[in-house]
Symmetry: C2
């Protein structure tokens, strides 16, 4: 029945081709191969590049060189993936074996029309639409199986994206899984590869969560301080109650994903303080922090190896730190600027006269219409000068003579 010779059909096909072309042209508008800092509404990177102008990040464009692996594309992992995609990360590796269900719709990211797709396929669909500049690699597998673990390990080792990179092929692994077994597998892989990673989690009652930074050998690994119940050898699966489903909220998961990716950005782009552990207890808005040293009796053999490496590398680390400090000091001396311009209290050596003139000018620096509510300390009436301070002391001999006279009284 579909005779392509009909003139009307040719027209229909032409119309379809035209719409496909227009759709593709529309999409290609969003392909940016370099990160422009230009302040125009058509530049998707302008508000990120502004972090440089604001003095927060030294070189934002470096984000294009980094690879981040996200294990578990659920309520936290999917949002973390979207945030990194919108930040313009170089390469994102995604791991999950689950399918999108309607029961996931109470968390951000997945849409009802994606129900039935694998989470990895649905994520790649959404993320590549948002930012085609990010290199996406997805792995539909369960890392707790033998085959899955092998593929996981070899994908982390692959250095094709940035062959000059030291260590593994990724800069950071984010664990966004929902069970202890999978966390222990990520821990094993990262200990074996000497790979820095961040762990995240949300409680079963949906109202608290945490993120944690794990650097093999330097901080506690996930097996260094296992939960009490797990340490006692009780099978995690027996803890789950029959027919009880865990609660979840888009808020708690969104906050945990945000804290996780913020810590990731601070770690990769070297700004602010990277938190070793940050908790979020939403009922009281309490955010505990702490740091954990590795356990010298850790049950994980690879962790013990990394601890040994870390201790052996101490002299080399100290030498690097010393050289860096000396280089900074000599650079500062050469440039004749204060030694520690970036110290927390902005302390620097300033000439007394210069200080006076700076203080003096500060009242003049108030915006138009502003006045000081209270007089400045300089304007308080000076206490009447006492006899002792009134006396001009020229040198040490004078002082000694006066002291002798007082003693003679």
């Amino acid at each position: 029945m579909l005779r392509l010779t009909s003139c009307d059909h040719v027209l229909t096909i032409l119309l379809i081709l035209l719409s496909l072309y227009l759709f593709d042209a529309q999409k290609s508008r969003f392909l940016f191969h370099d990160m422009s800092a230009e302040v125009v509404d058509s530049n998707p990177y302008s508000r990120l590049m502004a972090l440089q102008r604001m003095g927060i990040v030294q070189n934002y464009e470096r984000i294009r060189e980094f690879s981040v692996a996200i294990v578990g594309i659920g309520g936290v992992g999917s949002v973390a993936a979207e945030m990194l995609t919108r930040c313009g990360l170089g390469r994102l590796l995604l791991y999950d074996y689950d399918k999108v269900e309607l029961a996931n719709m109470n968390r951000l990211f997945f849409r009802p029309e994606q129900v039935g797709m694998t989470k990895t396929d649905a994520a790649v669909q959404t993320l590549s639409d948002i930012n085609p500049d990010v290199v996406l690699e997805s792995y539909t597998l369960n890392i707790t199986t033998v085959q899955g673990f092998e593929t996981f390990m070899s994908s982390l080792k692959n250095k094709t994206f940035c062959p000059s990179k030291e260590g593994s092929g990724v800069d950071l692994v984010l664990s966004c899984v929902d069970n202890y077994e999978a966390r222990m597998v990520v821990n094993q892989a990262c200990n074996e590869l000497n790979q820095t990673w961040m762990e995240s989690g949300v409680s079963e009652d949906a109202v608290s969560g945490h993120i944690q930074l794990l650097i093999p050998g330097e901080t506690a690994c996930f097996a260094c301080a296992p939960p009490l119940v797990v340490a006692s050898g009780v099978d995690e699966r027996t803890l789950k109650r029959e027919g009880v489903c865990a609660a979840s909220l888009p808020t708690t998961m969104g906050v945990v994903a945000g804290l996780l990716v913020q810590n990731t950005l601070k770690f990769l782009l070297k700004f602010g303080h990277v938190s070793p552990y940050l908790g979020y207890s939403s009922l009281k808005d309490f955010f505990p922090t702490m740091a954990m040293k590795p356990n010298p009796h850790c049950s994980n053999a690879a962790c013990l190896e990394r601890q040994k490496d870390y201790i052996l590398a101490k002299p080399a680390r100290d030498a690097v730190a010393k050289a860096k400090m000396e280089a900074e000091a000599s650079a500062a001396a050469a440039a004749d600027v204060p030694l520690h311009v970036d110290n927390e209290w902005n302390i620097s050596v300033v000439d007394d006269n210069e200080l006076d003139s700076t203080c003096g000018s500060s009242s003049g620096a108030l915006p138009e219409g502003l006045t000081h509510e209270l007089p400045s300390a300089d304007e308080f009436p000076k206490p009447p000068a006492s006899r002792a301070t009134d006396t001009t002391i020229d040198d040490l001999d004078d002082l000694r003579r006066q002291l002798d006279a007082l003693n003679a009284d």
Copy 2:
């Protein structure tokens, strides 16, 4: 050229109609008119209703009765709207006058194919796809104009959705705007309507933010403690530097939106502690909190009115609180349960013997395989009984006689 009599055309039209029907059937699968608590993957509300089973929320389904207005559908407002939509809120009112730009793509929510649409239209498109159960009302207007303010006020007053509701037509207003002028307009509207609202903001350098709860008359309003520069009458616009665009990050905005909607859920569904103010300083992961009383010399006349109302209503509030306490006490007495089971430190009057038996049973409650590392306090050797405590004092007369004897020594 398009002759509908052609058999091929009829087929084409039939195919189009069939696809439209299938698409619509697909969409209608996600329409749920009651919140089922059934634990199946096809129930989008199962993980929310689990909050009840977990004892966090008493009646989650009440969320269907609430109306929330979001002013400003940018980096914070759009994510807040998505979170509330996925939580199954009853009704959402959206206000913005801006259009989606490519420069917004570094924040969550809007997609590149929505560039050029108004933010309100794009938001309604995305949100109604995610959850068609939520009643969406969008207003493409600038609330700082006379006409915009009038429409804003009348939309807040409209009680069609829940005619029995006290006060205005909405339960909460969320301010997610990016400038002081718009915040002052929301403040004015909420003071006039005696409307509780929450304010949110993210710093120009993208690395910190805050949320704040404002209850007219009870807490400080936005004009009670204005920033110094604004208080001095300097025009906000003169503070913006030419050609400088503010930085933004999906992380900071996602965290602020999450904290804002979490506080909203706690406020509406009455669980946990609703924070009066919560800051987020991401460089050091510092989260300051505070509370602010209203300023009796506030420049906003409506605020002063609300403060007067609040003071006048004190006897009534006290009476309600007293009646509630008495009802609880008598209910507790009738049920023979501790008076304050929900107090912060779980203090309750417990019989001494009962306490002993509870403490004793706690060691038996440890999971299999666990032992106490240290002995319990009860097992420490008791100090030898002293002479004074050994003496049995029967009544007050005995005590007096002993005291007299000591004084006579």
